[in-house]
């Protein structure tokens, strides 16, 4: 009669890949990141990040704005280290302007940058607990972060997108209450940080979900360009505050926190330790803020000479590079940001292979991704 129907062997379960979308709206992605997970059962075979859901073309917008106006755009990249982003742009522009920045500005910038780092790590700690199912930590993290936000609000005028830096200095002088409030906060947080360890670090469920999960070796960390606490947890010494000191970091004593294991728990430990180090930096500077101007004298419209300027700083997430190509105009010809989140995300696929679905949440959480920083 007709042709023979194609024969299929009768196997109950065929080996095949299975795709699921994690995101763009997923609570643990902290933004709009879409991950296409290739699964075999519950085991991850491949993670493919799809970007672009919150792309605002900040680099292109910089090309039409003046150098003073660019600064506030960088608030919106890595909003948890807004001040450090502002500082990076200002330092790059100041390189071209060739102005002498007063010592007072350098010290205040460093103090606020460390406060920003603390606030960022506090939020990360709270959110990390929440990602793994412990809602309590979120409230504790935000309780202590509120004090820092009050300091920012009083001195800078805003809580998150502060825009406190201008090329050549600071927007205002520090508020008269700033020193006292910062000291109060340090005294308060020194008592509260051990609570973080009691609540989460020792917790058996937390330990089982983080130890040995998402291991990144030192070689891989270097080849993927993973910087910040995530890179340091793998033993990659990459703290730019030590290796390329800017502002007042060459005047203070602090330890670069390094881990060895490179797993999620090591990344967690590095961040907790960094909070102690940040407090040590603030304590060294807060009592001797030098007198002087809070701004160097600059022209109303800043024009950079023809050339290229690069400045790298250590944000709460890693190395942020600001690259300006100037043609001598009042706005840059091209502006490029090397954002830490983008490079750190590139290692996600490598770290998650062979892990389970639930581990992707852990790994993403310990990488501390901020999606607007990745897309820009």
């Amino acid at each position: 009669m007709g042709e023979a129907v194609k024969t299929v062997t009768n196997t109950p379960f065929e080996e095949q890949e299975y795709f699921i979308n994690m995101g763009p709206q997923h609570p643990s992605t902290h933004g709009v990141l879409r991950l296409v997970l290739t699964l075999e059962g519950e085991t991850i075979r491949k993670v493919e990040p799809h970007l672009g859901y919150i792309h605002r073309s900040i680099e292109k917008m910089c090309e039409k704005d003046g150098y003073k106006q660019i600064v506030h755009l960088t608030d919106r990249m890595d909003y948890l280290s807004a001040h450090i982003n502002n500082e990076a742009v200002c330092l790059a522009v100041e390189q071209g302007m060739e102005v002498e920045i007063p010592e007072r500005v350098k010290v205040i910038r460093t103090i606020i940058a460390e406060l920003t780092r603390l606030a960022s790590h506090q939020l990360w700690w709270g959110v990390m607990g929440m990602d793994l199912g412990a809602i309590t930590t979120f409230l504790y993290g935000f309780r202590d972060r509120e004090m820092i936000n009050d300091i920012f609000e009083e001195t800078c005028g805003a809580r998150l997108t502060m825009n406190y830096n201008v090329p050549g200095g600071l927007m205002f002088d520090i508020h008269p209450n700033f020193v006292q409030r910062t000291k109060d906060f340090i005294a308060h947080f020194k008592k509260k940080l051990p609570e973080y360890d009691e609540l989460l670090s020792g917790n058996i469920i937390f330990r089982k979900r983080t130890e040995g999960v998402g291991v990144l070796s030192k070689e891989d960390a270097i080849s993927f360009g993973v910087t910040g606490p995530a890179g340091r947890a793998s033993g990659f010494s990459c703290d730019l505050r030590k290796h390329a000191p800017y502002s007042a970091y060459d005047k203070v004593q602090f330890k670069e926190v390094l881990g060895t294991e490179g797993d999620s728990y090591a990344r967690y430990k590095v961040r907790i330790q960094e909070m102690w180090e940040s407090m040590a930096v603030i304590e060294q500077l807060i009592d001797n803020i030098p007198e002087g101007d809070f701004q160097a004298k600059t022209k109303a419209v800043i024009k950079l000479p023809k050339g290229e300027f690069y400045q790298k700083v250590e944000t709460a997430r890693g190395e942020l590079g600001v690259y300006i190509i100037s043609e001598g105009d009042k706005s840059p010809y091209r502006m490029k940001f090397r954002s830490p989140g983008f490079s750190n995300l590139s290692a996600l696929d490598h770290m998650a292979r062979g892990a389970k679905i639930a581990d992707v949440v852990t790994i993403m959480s310990t990488l501390d991704l901020v999606i607007p920083d990745i897309d820009r």
């Binding site: 003073k68 506030h72 309590t136 800078c156 205002f172 609540l199």
Partner: protein
């Protein structure tokens, strides 16, 4: 036998770590004074923002309905987003034609609260108010005319 002892030990250790965390939360249940939650809509009367808080741009007016804006457009140029638009007109004062502002347009929905306009103002005409409750039911209400009707330039400001 060794394995069983280790297993029981790990269970006891696990319970101990859980109780340790619970003791922190237990402390705050018994010490309600340390809770810092603010009851926001109820505390509206007493809620005071900081002096430098950036709420929205306002044009300050004196009691005699005078403002300090000369219409120089420095804020319009400083604004990164085109939030501010100054529409000026020619007015005859003492036989001389003079430029005065007709409308100081401010689009709150586009404002990023970067404070650059306030810094650029040569006559300190505009300030940031402490008001932060900006929610409205219609988007067009967010485009505001900041100079009050009938207001004029303060004497001596140029």
């Amino acid at each position: 036998m060794r394995a069983i002892i280790d297993y029981i030990k790990s269970i006891i250790e696990g319970i101990r770590t859980l109780l340790k965390g619970m003791s922190v939360t237990g402390y705050y249940i018994t010490h309600p004074r340390e809770i810092i939650t603010q009851q926001y809509p109820e505390n509206r009367e007493t809620l005071e923002m900081f002096d430098r808080f950036r709420g929205e741009v306002v044009l300050t007016h004196t009691e005699a309905n005078e403002h300090r804006c000369t219409g120089c457009s420095a804020c319009e140029l400083a604004c990164p987003n085109g939030t501010i638009e100054i529409i000026s007109k020619r007015e005859e004062v003492d036989g001389k034609k003079k430029k005065v502002i007709d409308k100081f347009m401010y689009n709150l929905s586009m404002c990023t609260f970067c404070n650059l306009c306030i810094l650029s103002c040569p006559t300190d005409a505009i300030v940031m108010s402490k008001d932060f409750e900006h929610a409205v039911f219609d988007r067009s209400l967010l485009t505001k005319v900041l100079n009050k009707p009938g207001s004029k330039l303060m004497e001596g400001v140029r």
